[in-house]
Amino acid sequence: MIAVLRDLFRYNGEFAIGCVIMAIILGIAAASFFSPYEPIDSYLVALDAPPSLEYVFGTNSRGQDIFWQLTFAIRNTLAFGFIVALISRILSLVIGLISGYVGGIVDRILMSINDTFIVIPLFPLLVLLYFVLRDDMTWFVLALVMAGLGWAYDARLIRSVMISLRTREFTNTSVFSGMSMPRIVTQEHLPYVLPIVFSTFMNNMNWSIGLEVTLAVLGFTDVDTPTIGGMIFWANQHSAMVSGVWWWYFFPTLFVTLTFIGLFLLAISMNEYIDPRSRLDRMGNS
């Protein structure tokens, strides 16, 4: 595993750049644990100070140091994306595997549910949920809701891979070797499916972070938990652009963009590496 990562880092430029970006992002997120301030406390430092040696990213109109505020925001945003991606991957994996391998009536039922989720318009639904739940719409509830809505596309993808795997001859060999169905799926087929799960994991994180930022900017989330979207929301509330406090916008936007790029680069480079065909080519000479 370590050798794999080393090879990737050495021979794949996208992976190396993605790694460096994500290391910086994670480093900043980790710094939140050493923050001198509580994230929700305000009016602790001078207001509207531009970036300087004392306040690297400046301070905002609520008397918060933007650097330390950003450390919390990145941590929460990443954790949010991670939880959404994790839960939705598990859902799409289980549903895709079952639907593809079992087939028949089970497949038809699962896929009709799946298709329903694909056509549901997400954004209005999330806004609606916010108005229904209001204060109960915490960061974690939102993650659960988005995970519940974000699995459908990839479940279909996994199902189609499973269907083609099921017709491969080695599946029959496994059956006649006396392997049970769960065993065949987890041991014979999963190695072909996991790469899809890994690469869609990153994409799904990007998708959920993007949606969360959108909702937060518009104020449809729990604004008391500092997230990147939440920071931009407060900047809007204080008309930061009008009063010339550009750094209040600039740093959250910069870092959320970096996160997108980093995750995207990791997703495509891993996709290339994990692809069974290129994996076999590499095995051919080891």
Binding site: D7, L8, R10, Y11, N12, Y273, S278, D281, R282, G284, N285, S286
Partner: protein, 355 residues
């Protein structure tokens, strides 16, 4: 026909000549370099009006060889050394500009491939496919072109109705016949046939082979015919080359090769063909075909060879003419067979040709 007579004055009447042709696959995956020597020093020629058969097992390099002589080289496949000369271009194929190389196709050089479905566009009627492939090369007005196509089909005894059908409406055998018609429409001097009958049922196979033979005869084309099936070669090839692990190990007139195989590999292949009416036990060959990324030193057949001697383990036998029109690369066949003079046949750097 004018083109053929024009090039007939070229002297030696070899339509295709390769000298020491080498084509390797060179791959790089995350720092691991791999070199597969799929075609490793093949010198042969195809005469005018003959069908030259190439036989060999899977991954012996026969498909790569075809790609090399058809100028269908794409990375990771590279021409590492040697030359490919056609009588109709007076030059090394790879010395030509890409535009001229493309111009040669279909007009002088055409193909009959195994998967006829890959050649025929599934959503176009057959006559559209004929237009797509040949109209530009024929330089004829539309009406004359259509007439020429019909005349051509008639000559090949194919019903003209097929022009109106889609590929999926035809059977596999009929599709392959259409491909043959397509390949011979411009009356090319040289046809490359890659396993054209392998995917067909036996009943159909025989007719398609007969058609290929008749067409080739009628148009006076030369042809390279590749298949792993020796019984097909016995029925269609004038001369036969046997490939093993990227090299030509034996070559001769088909009847000579069958009657008097000089290489132990050829001898085994011929002896192991089962026939109806004969239930004598036939033995398989031991061992496995070599890995071309790491071929055995010396003669590449020696680990499986019943006649292997000490010299076979170290030296590479050169393809040597032992009888009239019969060449073989085996030390056991005759003491006239000498090792390949070039001391480092496996050093691609030494063979790098400036292009």
């Amino acid at each position: 026909m004018t083109q053929i007579s024009a090039s007939a004055g070229h002297g030696n009447a070899h339509v295709l000549e390769t000298s020491d042709l080498r084509a390797y696959y060179r791959m790089k995956y995350f720092g691991i370099d791999r070199e597969v020597r799929a075609v490793d020093g093949i010198s042969m020629h195809v005469r005018k009006h003959e069908i030259y058969g190439i036989a060999g097992e899977s991954s012996c390099g026969k498909t790569t060889f075809i790609k090399a002589i058809a100028a269908a080289i794409r990375p990771p496949l590279e021409i590492v050394g040697g030359q490919v000369n056609y009588s109709f271009i007076d030059d090394d194929l790879y010395a030509l500009s890409p535009a001229r190389r493309t111009a040669i196709r279909w007009q002088h050089l055409s193909y009959i491939l195994q998967g006829s479905m890959n050649v025929l566009n599934p959503v176009r009627r057959i006559h559209k496919t004929f237009e797509d492939f040949a109209f530009r090369h024929m330089h004829l007005p539309r009406a004359e072109f259509d007439q020429e196509v019909r005349r051509h089909l008639e000559r090949l005894r194919l019903p003209a109705e097929i022009l109106r059908s889609y590929p999926h409406e035809l059977s596999g055998g009929m599709r392959q016949r259409v491909c043959i018609a397509l390949a011979t429409l411009c009356k090319p001097e040289f046809i490359i046939a890659d396993e054209p009958t392998t995917a067909l049922d036996v009943v159909v196979q025989k007719d398609v082979l007969a058609m290929i033979r008749e067409t080739q005869h009628e148009f006076g084309s030369s042809m390279i015919f590749v298949t792993h099936d020796l019984t097909v070669h016995a029925n269609i090839a004038d001369r036969l080359g046997i490939m093993y692990a990227g090299r030509l190990v034996e070559e001769g007139r088909t009847a000579d090769v069958f009657a008097n195989p000089l290489h132990p590999y050829t001898a085994h292949l011929i002896a192991s063909l089962p026939t109806i009416g004969d239930r004598h036990t036939r033995d398989g060959l031991h061992g496995t075909p070599p890995n071309l990324a790491d071929p055995p030193k010396g003669c590449r057949f020696h680990p499986r060879c019943p006649l292997a001697m000490e010299i076979c383990r170290h030296e590479n036998p050169a393809l040597t003419t032992l009888a009239e029109d019969h060449r073989v690369a085996c030390f056991a066949a005759s003491s006239d067979v000498l090792p390949i003079a070039d001391g480092k046949p496996n050093q691609p750097e030494a063979l790098e040709v400036e292009r």
